[in-house]
């Protein structure tokens, strides 16, 4: 069986349906509680899911929700995703922990060291999902950048908006700075040489001396090289500019094809961008997103979706393909994507925790029984589990070249 995939999950407070928090299975008062997150992550970890992304934004409204005044029938308020990931790190064993980080207001130095720390606390399971740009709500919270855009230009193309293009260049630099900081300590920098009294060898710690359009970052990381060397960089992409960002800077990209032809077109574009921009090393891993709502039968699922849509006041809309059905329906959709050649499928549960439990208890066993899930041999780190080599520090190569 060659058409195998890894399964990822995208965790988002009460789930991806805007009315999910009103379900009887929902726990809307616990969305900020440590137990809620510990239980969710343990469930998907035990099920053998390879990685979990955790949504985030630096504002009360969601990123693409410019409703004014703020709608009061949606989940509001959240915890910092990076800290949720660190919190669950000691409570989980195998699952990759991939918080969302916005690149527009944050400091790459802080983000780099936070992810290295997550990598240590999880013993090699850290990643990040980078999001370019900032919404107007985020800008108002920081007060530094009054200009910027929230929405795509009329053409729908990022390249037609100078501000959005700049935001993606900033995200590219951000990713570049992260990986340089992650390389700044060679693996063997700490020598603990009692005879010479030296704890480390300064020649193996490198100031990154980065000067870009958006950042200048001089020093080395304050964190020694972490178990994976570099935590995983991932992005969600829907069109050319983000595809190019993924091809140039990411280890893994989430895409949102709606059918087989769409998938083929995206893969071709990613391939072309990779040929042009990607350095030597690992090929870009491609994960397709599915938003899933799962009940015992397809018709029960349709009823549940109708109930939720009714409460939300509008039908569920998503950038990702929506699968409303039984666990078998979802498993079938995953198998089709596997046959079409993606490396993984990221499931966005419509309702948390209900659909998370259905994925863990029903979808995963079905995929296992048909050998659609890529099994691994208990590999230790997220990179190893996904079949990605541990990168060597770029500064080692520099030295060899001397």
């Amino acid at each position: 069986m060659t058409d195998q995939v890894h399964l990822a999950i995208a965790l988002e407070r009460a789930g991806w349906h805007p009315a999910a928090w009103r379900e009887s299975t929902a726990r809307p008062h616990e969305l900020l509680s440590p137990r809620y997150w510990a239980e969710l992550l343990r469930t998907v970890d035990d099920a053998g899911i390879a990685l979990a992304t955790i949504e985030d934004a630096l504002s009360l409204p969601d990123r693409f929700d410019a409703s004014e005044p703020l709608r009061r029938d949606r989940v509001r308020g959240r915890l910092d995703a990076s800290l949720i990931a660190s919190f669950v790190a000691p409570l989980t064993r195998r699952i990759g922990l991939v918080p969302t980080v916005t690149t527009s207001h944050t400091e790459p130095f802080h983000v780099a060291t936070a992810l290295q720390t997550l990598d240590f606390a999880s013993r090699g399971r850290a990643g990040v999902r980078l999001v370019a740009g900032a919404s107007s709500a985020e800008r108002a919270n920081f007060g530094r950048r009054s200009s910027g855009v929230d929405t795509l230009p009329p053409s729908g193309r990022v390249e037609d908006s100078p501000e959005l293009l700049a935001a993606f260049r900033e995200a590219g630099e951000f990713a570049d700075v992260l990986s340089r900081l992650w390389d700044s300590w060679q693996d063997d920098a700490i020598i603990r040489d009692v005879s010479s009294g030296r704890f480390l060898d300064a020649d193996r710690v490198h100031a990154i001396e980065y000067e870009g359009e958006f950042f200048s970052v001089t020093g080395a990381s304050i964190v020694p090289r972490s178990p994976q060397g570099r935590p995983l960089i991932t992005v969600l992409a829907h069109q050319s500019v983000p595809y190019r960002l993924a091809a140039e800077r990411a280890d893994l990209v989430y895409i949102t094809p709606h059918d087989e032809r769409g998938l083929a077109a995206i893969r071709a574009e990613l391939q072309a961008a990779s040929d042009e921009l990607r350095g030597p090393g690992e090929r870009l891993r491609v994960y397709a997103d599915l938003l899933v709502l799962i009940e015992e039968t397809s018709s029960a699922a349709r009823d549940a979706a109708a109930r939720l849509d009714d409460r939300a006041g509008e039908p569920l809309a998503s950038d990702a393909r929506i699968v409303v059905g039984s666990a078998a329906d979802v498993a079938e959709a995953v198998r089709e994507l596997a046959a079409a050649g993606v490396d993984g499928v990221r499931l966005r549960p419509a309702r948390q925790p209900a659909d998370v439990a259905a994925i863990a208890e029903q979808v995963v066993p079905l995929l296992r029984s048909t050998q659609t899930l890529r099994e691994d041999d208990g590999a230790g780190t997220l990179r190893a589990r996904l079949g990605l080599a541990r990168p060597e520090s770029r500064y080692v190569r520099e030295k060899v070249a001397l």
Partner: protein
């Protein structure tokens, strides 16, 4: 005579990246592996400490233009490691040092509120102001903040953070599923803040956390630093550990509280304290000496004076007298810890006086300055000393700094803590469901008025 026994507060300082931390010891573990933090925080919890404490340094220390090689270097991201520790502990507070110059209030306030939620009300923030260009070079906002403005930004930062935390009512999340109302109108309130440092129109996105506001700690020693402490801090981490010195500091800072409408108990002062324990006084002294010698190895001593002098002194014998040359006051060497507080000349004069009056070598001088243990003695003696400081109002307790990662506080927790308990001045167990604020005996967070705009 009937005044109640004052309760001792103890914090556990994770071993840092200076020469206090001895890495040459065969039992010394990693400063970054999670196992070390696990061990350390479990010890702190076994010893019923108020909190574990992490320092922060946002750039690797350098010496003569190179990364410093002799001491432990490298540390985790403060908030991330505390969030991980929250998962494996139940009671102990989690206090991190976080800079006000190289962070933004919204981001830091939400991270601290998150930590408070994830830990069930155990978060604390040591607000520091280091603002030099050396550290600034790692950040997009750079190091352009004038030294004189560092506390202006810190004050405004802390005020804005409090406004953000206070913008949610206690039970702000309605989550009425049948009515379809997640948040009531007007929740949270908007924070419009306009000051010299920050101009935001913010809507905070983390509902009120268990403590309302995380506990604020302060660790700067200048007049401005003390002023900031009196206004905002609920704990001060100082270096004033000698009894008279500690008491003068206590009186100074607590004396300023009235101006802010605060009382003595609303601020705890927990100076740094090191220790060496022995079965007899003699054994403790030997142990102290042994630790000091491994903290200040010959090359460490030379590096220390090189930082003070600002020049290469590699030809000098660490066991010989101090250099007789003048310091190089032109060079920028104030990057490490050594000469943070005084100008090079003043520093050199002080070293000379100490060395000459007692005939001390370079190494012995540095030992005297940096490796003198606060408490040396039997467990009984150390317990009595600590108790005396607290009962006589020189401190409210201590921030204990062990010399070993991660076992540095084991002996203290196992041998000294029970004796403090016997004296009736230390808790026997954690109160159920206590927040860090409760452990410290601090009043509940009062909602603050908005930042006073001039």
């Amino acid at each position: 005579m009937s005044s109640p026994v004052r309760q001792i507060h103890l914090a556990a300082h994770f071993p840092g990246v200076n020469s206090t931390t001895v890495w040459t010891d065969p039992t010394a573990g990693s400063q970054v592996d999670f196992a070390s933090f696990e061990h350390f925080s479990r010890t702190a919890e076994r010893g019923l400490f108020d909190y574990v404490f992490l320092a922060e340094g946002l750039r690797l220390r350098e010496h003569k233009g190179r990364v410093h090689e002799l001491d432990v270097l490298g540390r985790p991201h403060t908030l991330s490691i505390l969030a991980a520790i929250a998962a494996i502990t139940e009671h102990v507070g989690l206090v991190g040092t976080l800079n006000t110059t190289f962070n933004e209030p919204y981001e830091l306030a939400r991270a601290l509120a998150t930590l408070d939620h994830l830990s069930g009300g155990r978060a604390g923030w040591n607000a520091v102001t280091s603002s030099d260009a050396f550290h600034g070079a790692n950040f997009r906002r750079g190091g352009y903040l004038d030294h004189a403005d560092r506390y202006e930004r810190a004050r405004e930062f802390a005020s804005l953070a409090k406004e953000l935390w206070d913008s949610w009512p206690d039970d702000g999340v309605r989550a009425d599923a049948s009515g379809g109302v997640f948040l009531d109108d007007g929740v949270p309130s908007r924070v419009r803040h306009r000051g010299a440092q920050f101009d935001v129109d913010a809507v905070f996105d983390v509902p009120r956390s268990p403590q309302g506001r995380p506990v604020i700690v302060q660790a700067g020693d200048s007049a401005d630093g003390r002023g900031f402490g009196a206004e905002h801090a609920e704990v001060i981490f100082s270096l004033h550990t000698r009894f008279d010195d500690a008491r003068a500091f206590y009186d100074d800072v607590k004396g300023q509280l009235g101006a802010w409408g605060r009382d003595e108990e609303s601020l705890k002062i927990l100076p740094a304290a090191t220790f060496a324990i022995g079965d007899t006084a003699e054994e403790a002294r030997e142990r102290s000496r042994e630790i000091a010698l491994s903290q200040v190895r010959p090359e460490t001593a030379l590096t220390y004076v090189e930082q003070v002098w600002g020049s290469d002194l590699s030809g000098y014998d660490p066991d010989g007298p101090l250099p007789d040359i003048d310091p190089d006051t032109g060079a920028e060497t104030a990057k490490g810890w050594a000469n943070r507080h005084a100008s090079a000349r003043k520093r050199v004069a002080a070293l000379r006086e100490l060395s000459e009056s007692e005939g001390l070598s370079i190494r012995e001088t540095v030992i005297r300055l940096t490796a003198n243990h606060t408490f040396v003695g039997t467990p009984d003696r150390i317990a009595a000393e600590i108790d005396r400081y607290v009962q006589e109002r020189a401190t409210d307790g201590f921030t204990l700094v062990g010399h070993l990662t991660p076992h540095g506080l084991d002996e203290f927790a196992d041998r000294v803590v029970p004796l403090l308990q016997e004296r009736g001045s230390y808790r026997e167990s954690y109160p159920e469901g206590a927040t860090l604020r409760d452990l410290l005996g601090l009043p509940a967070a009062r909602r603050v008025p908005a930042f006073a705009t001039p």
